[in-house]
Structure formats: C-alpha cells, structure tokens
C-alpha cells in the first residue's frame, strides 16, 4: 500500500443511549401474542443503545437507528431523523434488522469438491486453501483471465474498491464486474455521454422546489417508497406530476398526466415530446446556444417524430404527448427522474439520453428545482461502480483503457503498468463466457444471478459449466447453493463503511453488533485470499477505515473525488455529496451551477437518438409485452427479504398482472410463455395495466422466476439486460407453480414463519390494491 495519507486512529461513534425509564409501561405480555420473529422480541431492553446507521436496501439510504440490547445484539429498529428520510422508513427498512440474528445466517464456511456432493461445514483454513488452489489450478492451465470475479452494489464502497483491486492485483484477471450492471448503468452511460459525469444532477430536496416533476419508468411508491414524501411535498406546493409507466402505480394514480405507454417505446415518446416543444417554440435557445453541442442534430432527428407517429408506436393518444410537452416546457423549473423502467432496455442508454435532451432543451439544468436524476435501485448502486468494480473502470471512475488513468492507479497501487489488465466484459457476457468455457472459475460476492439475471436457463448452464465457483454471502442464496465454497460473511450491521445514495451523497454505516462466531467481514476474506495468492503486501487492510483512506487518495483529482470525505466528517454532517476535493469542501449536492459540465469544453453534449423496437419481436404466437419489476416488500433477488416473516406475509409469492380483457378471473392459474420458457402464476386481474402488457415481479427463483422468461439481450453500450420488455403470451393452466423455500445450510431448519406464508397457495394478496375482489 503506497497511500501516503496518514491514517488517524479514531474510536467508533458513541451510540446514543436511551433513558431506561422510557421502557413501555406494563405491556410486555403482548409480546407473546404471535410475534414474528418471536425469539428476537424478548430482548432485554434495559441498557438498550441506539446505533445510528442507514438502511441496507435501496438507493434512498434512509437513516435509522438499530436497537441493540445490553448483550450487544441487534433486536429492533427506531426511525432516525436524518435529512434524507426525516424518520420515514418503508416496510423493508423496518424489517431489515431481522436479518442480523436470523436463524438462516451462515456461520461456517460450506465446502464440497464437486457439485454432486452435499455441502459440508469446513474450517476457514480449508475453505480458503481449497479456493486458492482452485484459482491457481485454473489460472495455470488456462491463463489468468479464465478466472472471474463478480461483485455487488450492496457492498460498502470500501469493499467494492477492494473487489476491483483484488481482481486486477491479486487475481490479475480482467474479468471483474458487478450486479450494478443490472441496475443503473444505462443512466450512468447516458450521464457520462451528456455531462461527462456519472451521477444525478440534483439532490432529492430539489424536488420540493420544482414546478413540474416528470417520473419516467419508476414505480417510486414501491421501489423507493421514502422518496414519495418529496413527490407529495412538491405537489403540496403546486407542482404538476407527470408519470410515464405502462402500469397505474401508486404515484401514477394521482398524477396530473399518466402516460401508460407500451414497454420499450420510451425513446419514441420522448423524441415526440421534444418535437412538440420545438414546434411550439418552447425551447430555451439562449441556454442551448451557450451551453450545448449537438442541438442542431437533435432538433433534426426529433423532427421525424411528430406526435401522431409516436402515439402509434407507444399506443397512447397523441394529445398526451402534446400535453406533456406543454406542461413540462411551461414550468418555470422542471425536473425529470427516471429508473429501471426506461433503463432496462436494449436501448437503455438512448432512452436516458432522450430524457436528458428534454431537460437540456428547456434549460432545466443545474438550478434549484430544475435538473435530472436517476433513482438507484441498490443501496450502493451509485458508489458501487465509482471505485473500480466495473469491468471498464478504475478507482475514481477512471477508464481502464486510458493510459494516463492506468499510470495514476498503478502508482497508487504500487504495481507496473504492464501488470494491470485491460477492460473485461459485463456480467451477462461473463456468464456466456462460462458457457463457452472461456471463464472456468468464478468468485461471486454479494450477488444472486440465479434469480437476478435474465434467461435463467443460460445462467444455470453457465454456472454449471464453471469448474469452480465460490460465493460470499450471509444467507445461502440460490446462487450460493450452486457453489463449491460458500464464505459466511457479515451483514451491513456488523461492519462499518460508506455508501453513496441516489443523490451521490456519501453516507456512513456504523457497526451495531459483533458478527456471530465463525463469520468474517468481506474485507477480511478478500485480504486473506490475496495474502494466500502472494499479493498480501497490497492488501494490508485491518478494516474498512484503512481501505477508505486508500480509496480517498485513489479518487483524488478525478471526477468522482472523495478526497475531502472522511469518516469523521460523515458522522458530523450526516452525508456529503461528491465531488469533494478537500476536507474543507462542503461537497456538491447540485451539479453544474456554474453552467459548466465535466466535459473539457464545459458543454453538454446532446446526443441524437433514433427509436428502435425491442429485441424480442412480437408475433401472433407472442403478441404481448412482458415487463417485470419490484414489489414494495421485497428487495432484488429476495435472498434477504424472502426470509423475513412480515415481508413474506405481505407478499408471499409472485403473480402475473393481466388486464380483464384476457378473460381470466383473479387467482386463475395463468401460464406465461416466452421464447425462453413458461411458468404458471396466479392471475391478478386489474385495470391498472395495459391490455397488451403483462407484469410479473421478479424476486423469486424458478419455477416462479420472471427471469426464466426474460430475454438476455443487452444494450450495446451499457450492457444492461432488456428486462423490461419481451414478447409473451398467456394461456389458461390447471395448476400454479409453487414458490420454493429459500435454500438453507445443512442442518438448518427452514424458517418456520416464512414457510407458513409461503405455502399459502392462492391468490395474490392484493399487493398495492391490484387484486380484483369479485365485484358484485
């Protein structure tokens, strides 16, 4: 380690103690009344402490306190008045603490020499040695690049930095990527192209100042529930709300304009909106002349998208396009936020660019209440790629193909430039490479591709073909259940580190309890593997704090500058938005206030976009669009939330949302067929979806996995899969596919509370009010 910045020793934050007299008066008896999970609700609250931290789930990163009993065990949650969430929490956040001491936690390494054997508990020595010998064997036989590493965007930034460094310095492979590739890389790519910087332009608080809020492809109410308070706050002050979504979501319900367009037609829609704005002379020509390049070309392109043409493509009335254009352009300050709904496409980057073009053409950039943002799905979806975990990036968002950037990082890492591998491939491409035996061994950290990648059959085949697979996790995920070695690692509550939320605000998570016996931090495991691979001197990190100090230095002077951010400052301020180049710098919540972007010419580079249809063609056999998304109770692949009783009870299983015109009744078994396969779900009949579209939430494994049906087509630039649209048909079936229980380690009882709800066969429990009660 050649980081020169001195590492200052500091003690952990002092937990706030609770006045013991605030114990609930005379109410303990009720705790026995059927609690979930009963065992944790008998904590000894005398001497309870509250540890300030953040939610481990989505990109809002709500502040919360974890309640810790006098034996040092996390047993509850208390809302925290952090300025991101001001006490608010969604059901995932409220129940997150139940993971920490959950009976399904892995507490010893699991190992087997072949997939035909059962897992056996192994010692750390054995598991590490076996892993290292397999890495050596594969790399000696097939070259360094035959071993790959897949990280995750739920890891603290320190760990994502380590993953990138470990791949390049210890494994010496170019094959490293992460599951943020499935999240917001399209938005990242678009922002880089247009502005030269990869983050949202404005803080959430700017939403409160706007006059018109456009939300495209984001089910805010379910995926980022706590952000809703900003939306409603804007509406209280009279802002208009425009929602673009094929489904009537909770926010669409009360929007001024809800555009229910056909999945995969976003670029055609936004081009037409801009067409109207140009035609009606509503553009901000002064702004465009002073701050942009490429406007003329964009203007010419959108001329070919009159409302009538796009209305036909999008399956909406042309008047809506005109309406959206007028409302957006007439607003004094307008903002656009988008999420996976427009990003998960084979033209994901382009979709985001059309939204950016809209904001730029109306001069809505870099002002309080005016700007753009992308809503990150994963807690550290933003920070997870800033420090070198992505296949083409080095720390500080540097490009791995840029000789100058390579030289800078090699200096910091103390390696020769010739030793640093080049750019690797994306997550889905790595799976294809495993199928082709180009990648023969893999370590996965904090990800669950068996549920989260599209086209499950291909994913399973790729992993099955790999000769060696190790996985880090704290529950046995569906993917870990396929591995040769599983390392039991810490939850977010057992380690400290930083995450960057959707506003690029860096927040600090604190340690609330010691890990259970046998569990190690990811940092420890990575450093230990590096030591055994002979690169120990590059990985001399006792903990997150030391990694963060190197990360700060490694990011200094880049666009993603973290140099001025320290743990102490984060604790004092509650979060600092990067770039923050010095310890006196207040951070940068809003970008481009001086009118300059991060491109060398300081301009916004507007990009031409032509709409093209989704990759999976509609035919008579497959006439419908299948689209996927989340439910409020579950998080991503569900490895964490499908084990928490209250959340399982809230949403025990997936369903297929269909319009009444298909003739199904609520709860009917419906087979959804695509070119990849077919599965049977209970019907949730609702008028809140387009007749030509069906929807399945994706948190469950096969045979109830939306991703057994979705297509593994990728956006050519961002390599994000086209989860949000593929061709499908629905037909009546005679029985509904059962949801399998989440895998558990040998000897572990499946968690009974979760089981009870999960075997409940029928029908969908009216998630968000969508189910049809039989109407009389």
């Amino acid at each position: 380690m050649t980081a020169t910045d001195p590492v200052k020793a500091v003690s952990l934050p002092v937990p706030v103690s609770i006045d013991p007299s605030i114990a609930p008066p005379g109410t303990r008896n009720f705790r026995d009344a059927g609690g979930i999970p009963a065992d944790q609700w008998h904590a000894d609250q005398n001497g309870e402490t509250l540890v300030p931290t953040h939610c481990c789930f989505c990109g809002v990163q709500c502040g919360m306190y974890l309640r810790v009993d006098k034996h040092g065990k996390v047993f509850g949650v208390e809302p925290r008045n952090h300025d991101i969430n001001r006490m608010r929490l969604c059901p995932k956040g409220i129940n997150a603490y139940q993971q920490v001491n959950h009976p399904d936690r892995l507490t010893a390494p699991l190992m087997r020499r072949s997939r035909d054997e059962e897992f056996k508990e192994a010692s750390w020595e054995e598991a590490l040695d076996f892993t290292v010998s397999e890495i050596r064997r594969i790399q000696q036989a097939y070259g360094n690049d035959a071993f790959g590493l897949l990280g995750g965007a739920s890891l603290f930034s320190e760990k994502t930095y380590l993953v990138g460094k470990f791949a390049r310095v210890a494994l010496k492979t170019k094959h490293v990527d992460y599951n943020g590739r499935l999240c917001m890389v399209s938005a990242a790519g678009a922002n880089k192209l247009a502005f030269g910087i990869d983050r949202a332009g404005n803080p959430f608080s700017d939403i409160l100042l706007t006059d018109c809020l456009l939300i495209a492809g984001s089910n805010v109410g379910e995926c980022f529930p706590v952000m809703t308070q900003y939306l409603w706050g804007a509406r209280d002050r009279g802002a208009s709300l425009i929602v673009i979504d094929p489904r009537e979501t909770a926010i669409a319900r009360t929007a001024d304009i809800h555009v229910a367009l056909k999945p995969g037609t976003d670029a055609a829609f936004f081009n037409a909106v801009l067409h109207v704005i140009v035609a009606e002379g509503l553009t901000d020509e002064t702004y465009l002349a002073a701050h942009t390049t490429g406007w003329e070309e964009v203007k010419q392109t959108v001329a070919a998208y009159p409302p009538a043409r796009s209305a036909e493509i999008c399956g909406i009335p042309a008047e809506q396009i005109v309406q959206v254009a007028r409302v957006f352009a007439a607003a004094d300050k307008a903002m656009a936020w988008h999420a996976r709904g427009i990003e998960h496409h084979s033209q994901g980057v382009e979709n985001c660019l059309t939204v950016i073009n809209l904001c730029v053409a109306t001069g809505n950039i870099g002002k309080p209440g005016a700007g753009y943002g992308t809503i990150t799905g994963q807690g550290n979806g933003q920070g997870g790629r800033e420090h070198g975990q992505k296949s083409d990036l080095l720390p500080g968002g540097r490009s791995i193909s840029n000789p100058e950037h390579r030289a800078q990082i090699c200096r910091i890492w103390g390696i020769e430039e010739s030793e640093l591998p080049g750019a690797g491939t994306s997550m889905m491409e790595m799976v294809w490479q495993m199928q082709r035996r180009e990648i023969r061994g893999l370590i996965g950290i904090c990800n669950n591709p068996f549920v989260s990648l599209p086209n499950y059959a291909v994913v399973k085949d790729g992993y099955d073909t790999a000769e060696f697979h190790a996985q880090f996790d704290f529950f046995l995920s569906e993917t870990a259940a396929n591995a040769h070695v599983v390392f039991p690692v810490t939850t977010w509550a057992e380690d400290e580190g930083v995450m960057a939320n959707a506003e690029a605000r860096v927040v600090k998570h604190n340690k609330a309890q010691e890990p259970p016996a046998g569990v190690r931090t990811d940092t420890w495991v990575i450093c230990e593997l590096a030591r055994r691979l002979g690169a120990g001197h590059h990985f001399d990190f006792p903990g997150s704090r030391e990694v963060f100090e190197e990360l700060r230095v490694a990011s200094a002077g880049t666009v993603n500058d973290y140099y001025g951010i320290t743990y102490e400052r984060l604790e004092e301020t509650g979060g600092i938005a990067w770039p923050c180049p010095s310890t006196e710098h207040p951070g940068t919540p809003r970008l481009f206030e001086d009118g300059r972007t991060c491109h060398p010419d300081g301009k916004i580079h507007m990009q031409v976009v032509e709409w093209h249809p989704p990759m999976d063609a509609y035919t008579e056999e497959y006439p419908l669009s299948l689209t996927t998304g989340r439910t409020v109770a579950h998080f991503l692949s569900g490895n964490q939330t499908r084990r928490l009783g209250a959340l399982v009870e809230q949403t025990p299983r997936p369903w297929v949302e269909v319009h009444p015109s298909h003739g199904f009744r609520n709860g009917d078994p419906v087979r959804v067929v695509t070119r990849r396969g077919s599965e049977v779900f209970p019907a949730l009949v609702t008028e809140a979806i387009r007749p030509d579209t069906v929807f399945i939430p994706y948190h469950w494994p096969v045979p109830t996995a939306a991703n057994a049906l979705t297509i593994d087509a990728l956006d050519p630039r961002s390599k994000i899969p086209e989860y949000k649209v593929c061709a499908a048909r629905v037909e009546a079936a005679d029985r509904i596919d059962e949801v399998p229980a989440p895998p558990t380690a040998p000897g572990q009882e499946a968690y009974p509370e979760a089981q009870v709800s999960r075997t409940d066969p029928l029908p969908p429990t009216s998630p968000q009010g969508r189910g049809t009660a039989e109407r009389s």
């Binding site: 605030i22 114990a23 609930p24 008066p25 109410t27 008896n29 009720f30 705790r31 026995d32 009344a33 059927g34 609690g35 979930i36 009963a38 609700w41 509850g76 949650v77 809302p79 969430n85 006490m87 608010r88 929490l89 969604c90 059901p91 956040g93 409220i94 129940n95 109410g221 379910e222 529930p225 706590v226 952000m227 809703t228 308070q229 409603w232 209280d236 009537e248 979501t249 909770a250 926010i251 319900r253 409020v632 109770a633 209250a646 959340l647 809230q650 009444p660 609520n666 009949v685 609702t686 008028e687 809140a688 009216s766 998630p767 968000q768 009010g769 969508r770 189910g771 049809t772 009660a773």
Partner: protein, 199 residues
C-alpha cells in the same frame, strides 16, 4: 379542535404497509399490527387507505361504552386505550360496537388489542410508530397548525355520520378541499335491516 393527534390523508397513501410493519414493532403490542390497510377499489385502482383507531370523543368511545368488563379506559387526553389485560374477557363486544372496525380479538389469548395511539411513545414525546415511518405522510402526527404549515390549504374532518348517528373523533381525516362535505359519511350506507329494504 383536536390537539396533537394523527391525521389520515388517503390521497397520499401508496399502500406500502410500512405502517403495518411499524405497528408490529411498537413495544405495546410487538408482533401484532393494529392497523388495517384497506384497498378501496381493488382491481380498478391502486388506491389504499390506512385505518387506525379514531379515538372517538363524542359519543365517547363506543367500544369502551359497551365493554362489560370495563377493560377499555379512556385517558384524560382522549386516548382510548387497548383493553387492560387483567380485565379483558375476550367477549368481542368492542369489535361489534366500533363503527370503524378497529379493535381485534386474539382468539387464542382471549384478549382484545387495538391501537392505543402508541401511548408508550406519545407519553414520552415520540410520535406513534406508524405516523413516524409512513413514507408519504399519509399518516401524520402533530397539531392541525403543523399539518397546515406543511400542506397549505389542507382541509380536515373529525365528524362522521353513520346514518343518523354522528361520531366525532380525536383522529382526523384529510378531505379533498373542493369536496368538503360535513359531516363525512362514515361506513357503508345501510340498505337492508333484517331483510327489510330501508332505503
């Protein structure tokens, strides 16, 4: 009018059930949620509406009035408490009496449970768990002035008409400003009594 209380604004509710989860975490009945989340038009719209105890003021707490065991007590500040466990006989009279359908019976324990406005929290100056976490502010805890400062022009109602019977409550509902109807019609219209059409 009311002092510090809960205001319910169905127009903001996203049906996320954070209130339900939060209510389970409340120390006074940990493990059980006392909140009902209703979907008003399932299959047609995603509209949803949380119901907490309305803490009836006039007539004072029908649930308490009908309780044969005097188990439901109303505190001086108007909070209708959940049944006292040492007195409750689990007869479910309160369940039948409540016009809002709030109290629940734990059949196994033969005990009534209901929202007691998180007395264990409010007594110490904290807001009830549900209103604290509600991501949208559909449940708001505070005074009317605080609510109006945050949401200019908001209108609330605390009187409900059940047929001819009027109930005024300690908890208030936000009503659409352009459709203020006084009192707010409560419950479903009675169309039939013992098989006789009474419309």
């Amino acid at each position: 009018m009311m002092g510090r209380t809960i205001f319910i604004d169905p127009g903001r509710c996203i049906g996320c059930q954070a209130c339900v989860s939060a209510c389970r975490e409340c120390d006074s009945h940990r493990g059980k949620s006392m909140i009902h989340l209703d979907y008003t038009e399932p299959g047609m719209s995603v509209a949803s509406l949380p119901t907490v105890c309305m803490h009836c003021e006039d007539p004072v707490a029908p649930c308490a009035e009908v309780c044969p065991a005097d188990a439901i007590l109303v505190t001086a500040d108007g909070v209708v408490q959940q049944a006292d466990t040492t007195r409750c006989i689990g007869c479910a009279n309160c369940v039948n009496a409540c016009p809002f359908g709030v109290p629940k019976i734990d059949l196994q324990a033969k005990l009534q449970m209901k929202c007691n406005l998180c007395y264990d929290r409010t007594a110490y100056g904290l807001a009830p768990m549900c209103a604290t976490v509600c991501p949208t502010g559909a449940l708001f805890y505070g005074t009317l002035e605080e609510l109006q400062a945050e949401r200019p022009g908001v209108q609330v109602a605390d009187s409900f008409a059940f047929g001819d019977v009027m109930v005024s409550t300690g908890v208030a509902m936000v009503v659409p400003a352009d459709k203020v109807q006084w009192p707010v019609p409560g419950g479903l219209p009675v169309v039939e009594v013992n098989g006789v059409d009474v419309r």
